[in-house]
Symmetry: C2
């Protein structure tokens, strides 16, 4: 037993919160977990799956007496949550969040919180395309990074405990400036998601013309895009609305690059294309070497061989 | 034993050809396979891996007496190959290819071939990001589609045999008009590849500024793009140069869509974004149901947990 927090409150019970719940329990890092989710269904499911020990039908009630409060709702409602829970927070408690955006989230949450609590914004860089409490699993954070963006004058012991908590459930922890976080994530996450959504949208339009061809012949590249374009719409709407500036900046650079490649195709500049494609090949090696993706071809995916009727 | 072709010549010994070789042998579909590749290393490797029974240092010599010739080189050299092998082809032989582009490839190959052979263009919609003879495996085509684009007056028996060959090594076969093929593949393969290359290129630029951050935090979406952007540069250069029109058309539609989403972000039009992301979520279900991707979260990828030093 290595109790870091006696009572933990999970506000929001989706993929990330439920994975934290499993991780806390597996490693016996707290005595009690109380959970709040907007829908009764999610609360029920979280109890059934033993992610939490009890549930509350309001966020305010859930945080009473909690030593650690983890806000894991979509970014867009975090401000409302902070306002609601604020009067009920235990003095000395740590409040953190798992939002994919940091600067804006800080400006939404911080003004509501009393000076008596330690607010340490965070973002575990992990996930799958699934959502809801049933999507969580204790190993989600293994070898993944959790970025904390502590504010000025953050209590050292509170920060140390939170780092310890994330480390114990598998993550590597790094601290970072919020603005810088938002730019880096615009590159590694937000822009790729928007681009995947866009490509799938284009194909979906064409699908209406050509029936199931887009689906049948997706193994040639397209299907990779559909995974991230299957991510939670509410979460992602909020990410884009709250990391507007950095995302639009990176998308601007993306469009510039895309135009230069389109121009090379139009002008049949094979050397330009070949050089470009050789350069991009190397970055994957770096990601595999850093333990951030599998080395197996095709992600090692195993596709069930099933009999499907020809159209 | 179910000998479809006595002697098969594989011209080019990369991922696709070597997978065909393994598939033919595993299913005993021919008596002899002879292989040709540009480099001695690839020829040697193909012998070692028992992909072929013998190798030839010229494409012309390899096709002598072959009943089936499969051209599996990058699309850009297929015309030269056709010109070279043409005088040595056995009358009545079937010549096919595996190029990802069909209309242009037909115009490159067809003029060189004698009327005495059956030319049936083809394209197995399968692959991984790996290249070379060591990348091939017999199961690559299992449950994947192979598109044939037969020309007018194609010999029925020759077509039947080729369909049988592809079916025996696991593929589902469909015939299609070459121009239509090129448009469908521009959506399901060529544009997604160019977009992935572009996004990785943008990140690579940024990596110079921010060191290894792009690599470390890639699990949030970006790493999916790096897989297809690790594909063979020569093959993909040729694909874009030879399917210029359809690719540029789809990229034009992509840019239009992307601008509409960028505009929604800039104007904070959350409803537009949410509706868009809900629509694209459905298409993945279709792909999984059609047996073209795994249902496991995160492609079921298993990332080795390794100790990597913090930067």
């Amino acid at each position: 037993m290595n109790i870091l927090y006696k009572k933990v409150a999970l506000i929001g019970l989706g993929l990330i919160a439920s994975s934290i719940g499993h991780g806390l329990k597996k490693n016996s890092l707290c005595e009690t977990i109380i959970g709040y989710a907007k829908t009764k269904q999610s609360r029920q499911k979280s109890l059934e799956l033993d992610i939490v020990d009890e549930v509350s039908s309001s966020a305010a009630k859930a945080v009473v007496d909690a030593d650690l409060v983890i806000i894991s709702t979509p970014v867009g409602v975090m401000g409302d949550i902070a306002r609601e829970i604020s009067p009920f927070l235990k003095p000395g408690a740590t409040v953190t969040d798992v939002g994919s955006v940091k600067e804006n989230v800080i400006s939404l949450i911080k003004p509501h919180l009393p000076a008596s609590v330690h607010f340490i914004p965070g973002h575990p860089v992990a996930g799958t395309e699934r959502s809801g409490p049933e999507a969580g699993f204790a190993e989600l954070f293994n070898n993944r990074w959790c970025l904390l963006t502590p504010l000025e004058n953050t209590d050292e012991q509170a920060l140390k405990n939170l780092i310890e908590m994330w480390s114990m459930i598998g993550a590597r922890v790094e601290t970072m400036d919020p603005k810088h976080h938002d730019l880096v994530l615009a590159v590694t996450s937000h822009s790729p998601h928007l681009i995947a959504y866009t490509m799938v949208g284009v194909a979906d339009d064409l699908r209406r013309v050509t029936n199931s061809e887009v689906v049948n012949y997706s193994a040639a590249g397209f299907r990779d895009f559909t995974r991230i374009a299957a991510s939670d719409p509410t979460m992602w709407r909020d990410v884009f609305l709250h990391n507007k500036e950095a995302t639009l900046e990176i998308l601007g650079r993306f469009t510039e690059e895309l135009f230069s490649l389109q121009r090379a195709i139009r002008k049949s500049d094979g050397d330009f294309l070949h050089n470009y494609f050789t350069r991009t090949r190397e970055i994957r090696r770096g990601i595999v070497d850093a333990g951030q993706d599998t080395d197996s071809p095709d992600f090692g995916r195993q596709v069930a061989s099933k009999e499907t009727n020809k159209k």
